[in-house]
């Protein structure tokens, strides 16, 4: 187990290094100049700005400095917000995205387990058809449409109720969180529902279910402990990438619901060619994704004793 963990850790570090390096060189290859502004500046100012961000050095030297700083966890200062450190931006905004993502994922997972199991149980009958139709809808409608629809829904609800049932946008309480989290989690929920359904159908044929029934166990107990638990594995597999997708993919939802998450900074940084913020957020998200995949690998072994890590 320890050997496995060490090996995984090493390969994770190499992955993160690769992400950082690729991003660094692609970013510098993108045409455009992070220091350009609507107003042209004189060469002296330009020289000082370049020196401040180390842009006066050759790209390879910059890369070396970047790697050294990255090793100490320092991503420098932002180009657009010149008095904020990239580390502060991540520290202040990632928890928001993470909270939103975790709630979205909990909603998505619970929903997927419930709907997937239901639709397998009632295969080819109306609950199954209704759920599968909704799944197609949730997968194919992009999140900005869903978000706008949801916001319009809140507005209509508030108008009908005559008072603010849920806030239209903003951040600060659980009431601000609930609708964005559902919108954000919907796509993942739909995807996982399909997985859960097919996995349930597959397990339904297994011998151990017949054995359990023959032993006279209660049907609820069989359903939950024997059927669902064994059907969980494929769902857990996608959980790692799903966590990353949900916590990092909230840009549109964050924008429409005015939520101060990291997603917005990430996208704006790319548009503004804010080198330090691009590097900081990409490396951070990359490391996060790698960590999640590693955790899922470990979780595997806990759910299915046949898969023992390290073999």
């Amino acid at each position: 187990m320890t050997g496995f963990l060490l090996r995984r850790l090493l390969s994770s570090l190499i992955t993160i290094w690769f992400i950082a390096t690729a991003t660094f060189f692609v970013m510098h290859a993108v045409p455009g100049d992070p220091l350009s502004n609507e107003k042209a500046v004189n060469p002296e100012i330009r020289r000082h700005l370049e020196a401040r961000y180390g842009l006066d050095q050759p790209v390879l030297t910059q890369y070396g400095i970047f790697l050294r700083n990255m090793a100490t966890g320092d991503f420098g200062i932002s180009f657009t917000q010149q008095n904020r450190r990239v580390n502060d931006i991540i520290r202040e905004h990632f928890p928001v995205s993470a909270l939103l993502g975790v709630v979205a994922l909990v909603i998505a997972t619970l929903g997927a387990l419930l709907f997937g199991a239901l639709s397998a149980q009632f295969r080819d009958r109306w609950p199954d058809r209704t759920i599968m139709l909704s799944v197609i809808f949730a997968i194919s409608v992009p999140s900005f449409v869903l978000a706008a629809l949801a916001q319009w829904g809140i507005l209509s609800l508030n108008k009908a109720a005559g008072f603010t049932v849920l806030p239209v946008a903003g951040w600060g309480s659980w009431r601000h969180l609930i609708v964005p989290a559902v919108v954000l989690g919907l796509g993942t929920m739909a995807y996982m529902t399909r997985l859960m359904r097919s996995s349930m159908l597959e397990v339904a044929q297994a011998d151990y279910l017949r054995t359990a029934r023959a032993k006279g166990l209660g049907s609820l107990r069989i359903f939950v402990f024997h059927h669902m638990r064994n059907a969980l594995l494929p769902v857990v597999t996608v959980l790692g990438p799903a966590i990353a997708a949900v916590t990092t993919g909230g840009f549109v939802v964050e924008l429409i619901f005015s939520i101060p998450g990291l997603g917005r900074y990430f996208v704006q940084a790319v548009q503004q060619l804010d080198y330090t913020v691009i590097m900081g957020t990409t490396v951070f998200y990359g490391a996060f994704l790698v960590l999640m995949v590693m955790l899922v690998d470990i979780l595997y072994g806990l759910i299915d004793p046949r898969i023992r890590v390290g073999k």
């Binding site: 045409p31 455009g32 100049d33 992070p34 350009s36 502004n37 609507e38 107003k39 042209a40 500046v41 004189n42 060469p43 002296e44 100012i45 020289r47 000082h48 401040r52 200062i77 657009t80 917000q81 010149q82 008095n83 904020r84 931006i89 202040e92 905004h93 928001v96 619970l110 387990l113 419930l114 706008a148 916001q151 319009w152 507005l155 508030n158 008072f163 603010t164 049932v165 806030p167 239209v168 946008a169 903003g170 951040w171 600060g172 009431r175 609820l220 939950v224 402990f225 669902m228 924008l255 429409i256 619901f257 005015s258 101060p260 998450g261 917005r264 704006q268 548009q271 503004q272 060619l273």
Partner: protein, 550 residues
């Protein structure tokens, strides 16, 4: 596992849920009060911003959002009154001369920690702004002050700057050259005061958070949660606090999504909402009355006149001028009220001697028509010795409106003149980069005024101006710019600007399209909002919340 627990807890859980639900219903009416766009009792309004202020350090900031926030929490020597005229700020009186200016500071102007605002604070701020080490992209705003440009280029020490404190309450400014519009500049954010001891105590973190900034304006920034929330409160130390209407400006929403903004307005959560084409339609349908405001910015097509470019041919440019009617563009393509078709690079909001400049010197209208355009094109072909004009590269932005306009130009030039226009769509930084490198034939661009004088547009096409992205070089034009820059006689200056206006129409280095307008909604109880071209917009210094039945 979870599902199982749910089953066992089914009964007590539903009771608990019901109780929680009842509790949440009890709490809801409180939420209604907290959501108000306006509050007469507390004189509080709620607003939204499209992004958080990128930088509140007045010496280096460049953007409109920072300018809006700074203009409410800071104050320069002069400021703007409720009718948008210059009025006393920290300075209670002043004297403007050819070679400089003297400002007498009021003794009751205070920082938010109670200490007086002195002439030294201005000297320190201005020196910091022109110091090349500060690397301020707006340092050029201070160039009218003697030696500012040379200091900024690293040729002189900052102490050589032509500004001096004579005691605590008198500020002497020496000019580089006569600057008749200097008073307006002192209301600009680069000219705001900064107190040295505070600035130095914060170091790199100056203005990074609400308590890393010292305020001398009508409001203070009481709370700043990055990316989420700003709250401005009336400044108890402000000398004119008795004339500030609002007690609190609360900004709990930060989003660029226009639909979300309109939804917030409809929900009664915000008091001001900018509109775009789609939301305008909904707003009118729902019975709201939009307001209009000219921002003072101008949009235009600029031609690349660098050597080797086909657009150096004047007749080709004349052909495009003759076929493109700004009125059609504004009414048929932009389709948003408030935008004003223009034949001049000087917007109608620019002041002349007595009246608006454009009233005193109406823009000459170029002759237009398809036949004329084709005639010019034929001349261009002959001069260039070409059978066919090669494809033209048009550099444009990537927003929805920029796209719509670009496609209109492409189709218009193709149908009318048989010109092949290749669109080069770029995001902001890439577009700027290509503009400054001259990697285009035509670029769709815009310019907003930095100070209240026609020069802010006029010198844009001077041969020495770095912002002259098309590299238009005309000694006659340069001469008029020199005259306007140095002449003490307002009449002569305005005549010079009129000559520039004429030259631009004749030479067509640039094709003015329209003055940009804003369409927005304003809560009926919110009064006294001043929409401002200079000094931070909207200006809420004189705003207040009227009672519901007023």
């Amino acid at each position: 596992m979870l599902a199982c627990a749910d089953v066992y807890l089914a009964e007590p859980m539903s009771d608990l849920l019901a109780a929680l639900f009842r509790l949440s219903l009890l709490l809801l009416p409180l939420a209604v009060l907290a959501d108000g766009a306006v509050d007469h009792e507390r004189q509080r309004i709620r607003l939204t911003l499209s992004s958080e202020p990128p930088n509140l350090n007045s010496t280096v900031t460049t953007d409109q959002i920072s300018s809006f926030v700074l203009s409410h929490v800071m104050e320069g020597l002069l400021t703007y009154d409720a009718s948008n005229e210059l009025s006393p700020g920290v300075a209670e009186r002043w004297e403007l001369r050819q070679d400089g200016a003297t400002f007498w500071l009021r003794r009751n102007a205070r920082w938010s920690d109670g200490k007086p605002v002195t002439a030294h604070d201005f000297v320190f701020a201005w020196r910091t702004a022109v110091d090349p080490k500060t690397a301020s992209q707006y340092a050029s705003a201070l160039y009218p002050v003697r030696n500012a440009e040379r200091i900024n280029r690293g040729e002189l020490p900052v102490t050589a700057l032509g500004v001096e404190a004579r005691g605590d309450f008198r500020l002497e400014v020496t000019f580089e050259r006569p600057t008749p519009y200097f008073l307006g500049l002192t209301a600009f954010f680069t000219y705001y005061p900064i107190r040295q001891d505070f600035y130095e105590s914060r170091g790199e973190r100056y203005a990074a958070d609400a308590d890393d900034l010292l305020y001398n304006g009508p409001f203070v920034l009481q709370r700043w949660v990055h990316g989420a929330h700003l709250r401005l409160r009336r400044n108890g130390h402000y000398w004119g606090r008795d004339h500030v209407g609002l007690y609190e400006i609360d900004i709990p929403y930060i989003t660029t999504d226009t639909t979300a903004i309109f939804n917030l307005y409809q929900a009664g959560s915000i008091a001001l909402a900018p509109l775009e084409t789609e939301t305008l339609r909904d707003a009118v349908r729902l019975g709201f009355t939009p307001k209009l405001f000219l921002t003072g910015s101008i949009y235009y097509l600029q031609f690349n006149l660098r050597e080797g470019r086909i657009t150096t041919n004047r007749n080709l440019r004349k052909a495009i001028q003759a076929i493109l009617d700004p009125a059609v563009l504004v009414n048929k393509v932009v389709g948003l009220p408030g935008n004003l078709p223009s034949d001049s690079i000087f917007p109608t909001t620019v002041k002349g001697v007595e009246l608006p400049f454009r009233t005193e010197y109406p823009a000459p209208r170029p002759e237009r028509g398809l036949g004329l355009a084709r005639h010019y094109l034929e001349l261009a072909r002959q001069e260039l010795g070409l059978e066919r004009i090669p494809p033209l590269v048009m550099l444009v932005g990537d927003g929805p409106r920029a796209n719509k306009e670009a496609e209109y130009f492409q189709q218009l030039f193709a149908r009318g003149l048989g010109l092949d226009v290749r669109l080069d769509r770029q995001t902001a930084k890439q577009r700027l980069d290509k503009m400054s490198r001259g990697d285009f034939d035509i670029v769709a661009a815009g310019w907003g005024p930095d100070y209240d004088d026609p020069m802010t547009f006029g010198d844009l096409f001077a041969s020495w101006n770095e912002n002259n992205r098309g590299r238009y070089r005309n000694p006659e034009y340069d001469r008029w710019v020199e005259i306007a820059a140095t002449s003490p006689d307002p009449e002569q200056r305005m005549r010079a600007f009129a000559e520039m206006q004429r030259l631009l129409m004749e030479d067509v280095p640039v094709l003015p399209l329209y003055e940009s307008g804003n369409v927005y909604l304003q809560h009926p109880q919110l009064r006294g909002v001043v929409r401002a071209i200079f000094g931070g917009d909207p200006n809420l210094r004189y705003a207040y919340v009227a009672g519901e039945d007023e």
